[in-house]
């Protein structure tokens, strides 16, 4: 299962290197990767490779974050936006876009985004308290999420000129277009650190299967686990969102895609879910380059468009199982 998903990721990454306005056959991609000074080489190494690596990394981060959060809150409907970090990152980036005079590819965006994500996590624990139960934490996250969503709308509202507003609006849709190795270098370490934090709590997700009180009686430090996961989420998802804008549904859908095959163990789905997320986002990002349009369709739009029908299908299956039982 994990091996098959890894293979799928490699195949999709290959597709992603080939696809675009200029279609490159595999041989030219390989020659480009090997370091040719040809046009094809520049397209592959400077344009498509960073984009592909970012798609893999960000997709994996979102898939992992979704699986980790579902484990933490013991609910299959949890997704990375729950604690408000992604919307805070989006808000901070929008502020930079609107008033900082920066373009959508500026490096100040990821920096501001990650700062926003951290502020939101700090606020979360300030509001909910460190020892809060999961309900209080989720309610506080919901409130912060709504607040930062509204604040982003306010930024759009107050944008100094229509071009800035349009740029923010497009940026918010989520895209990997023209992202470079500098973006990867900036967001990569934070995503890696975030992933480490999320994975480090694998045992806690298992213990939490039995509820918070029994998890504690099994020796799990539940409050600390929550803090670590929230921190990992701010690092990983904050970095991801601030490079790409909002990419919806990957974090929610990826764990569901693999749960049937990987089993119910909330820790065993972490890696498959990360791989599924990577595959999903890379596929979506390749797809947007294949659709003929004057402006490129935003990746975030495609993930949501694919995500919703999947979710409906999932609901139908749950319904059928309930009616059959």
């Amino acid at each position: 299962m994990t091996a098959a998903l890894a293979l799928l990721c490699i195949l999709l990454a290959g597709m992603s290197l080939m696809a675009g306005p200029v279609w490159l056959p595999p041989a030219e991609v390989l020659r480009g990767l090997a370091g040719g000074e040809s046009t094809a080489g520049i397209i592959v190494t400077d344009i498509r490779l960073p984009r592909t690596l970012l798609a893999l990394g960000i997709g994996a981060t979102l898939g992992l974050a979704g699986a980790a959060l579902q484990g933490l809150v013991r609910n299959p409907l949890a997704e990375p936006t729950l604690f408000g970090a992604p919307s805070a990152a989006a808000f901070a980036s929008a502020v930079v876009l609107a008033f900082g005079g920066a373009s959508a590819l500026s490096l100040w965006l990821p920096v501001a985004g990650m700062a926003g994500a951290f502020v939101s996590v700090a606020l979360l624990f300030l509001v909910a308290g460190q020892r809060a139960g999961i309900t209080v934490l989720l309610l506080a996250g919901l409130a912060l999420n709504a607040f930062f969503g509204a604040a982003t709308a306010l930024v759009l509202n107050l944008a100094p000129n229509p071009f800035a507003a349009l740029e923010i609006a497009f940026w918010l849709l989520g895209s990997l277009e023209d992202r470079s190795f500098v973006h990867l270098a900036l967001a990569g370490p934070f995503m890696a650190l975030g992933a480490l934090l999320l994975v480090s709590q694998a045992k806690a997700y298992r213990a939490l299967t039995l509820g918070e009180e029994v998890a504690a009686s099994l020796g799990t430090h539940v409050a600390r686990s929550r803090l670590v996961v929230a921190g990992g989420l701010a690092l990983g998802v904050g970095a991801a969102v601030s490079v790409t804008g909002a990419i919806g549904f990957v974090g929610l859908v990826a764990p569901h895609l693999v749960r049937r095959a990987a089993g119910a163990d909330p820790a065993r789905i972490l890696l498959p879910s990360a791989l599924a997320g990577a595959a999903l986002l890379t596929a979506a990002d390749t797809l947007v380059r294949l659709v003929p349009a004057t402006t490129e369709i935003k990746t975030g739009v495609v993930t949501a468009l694919v995500g919703v029908p999947f979710f409906l299908w999932r609901i139908l299956r749950i319904r059928r199982a309930e009616e059959g039982a």
Binding site: A202, L210, S217, G219
Partner: protein, 256 residues
Amino acid sequence: MSGLVLERVSVSLGGRPVLQDVTLAVEPRALLAVVGPNGAGKTSLLRAVAGLAPFTGTMRLGGETLGGGTSPARARRIAYLPQRSELAWALSVRDAVMLGRLPHGDPFSGATPQDVRAVAAALDRLGLAGFAARPVTELSGGERARVMLARVLATEASLLLADEPTAALDPAHQLAVLGLLRQVAAEGRIVVAVLHDLALAARFADQVAVLHDGRLAAIGPPDAALSDGVLGAVFGLAFAHATVDGRRVPIPLGPR
């Protein structure tokens, strides 16, 4: 002494005292039944011993003082079965029982021979070996309760705390579970079980603690602790009696 000793243990919930000055001692190989009306503090007593509720007073297990809070070290010595067991994911019966080994390490990423042995023994003991691979969500309520009991046994703790282990079980399974707890105690462990059924407490317990309004109303062998005077004062009921296996078993009749 080597057993569980509580001295003047008190617990407050939200500033309200729910358990006051409880002093008791249980020897290894004993099954202590904790009985009392709803709200008497039975669950609070178990939670305090498990490290889940802050308490004042002193607690010792096997001569060592137990502080507040939970830790893997405490979890290896004390296994806690709550009144209502939750299972968020559709784990297999074997995996659910394996969760009981978490205080010893992470058996899911690398089970030690001891983990494998303990899980197999617990499954076997509760007659679950036949459906170890089935998802717990597909089991009946009674079977689920047995899975959760197997989970606590798999920890191989020296003290087992069970909050109403017979709730939701039919009479045959109630007898089977208490027989099992009896047996577990006889192997050298301590079992503390909250029971609502006084007849079961009288028949299976070595000692009975009667709680009333957060205080210990009586403690001792079943015949003494469940005397007419104590039961009448605590439950406000009149009781008839039957004799089973030489033990005097109270049967509630109605208001005194």
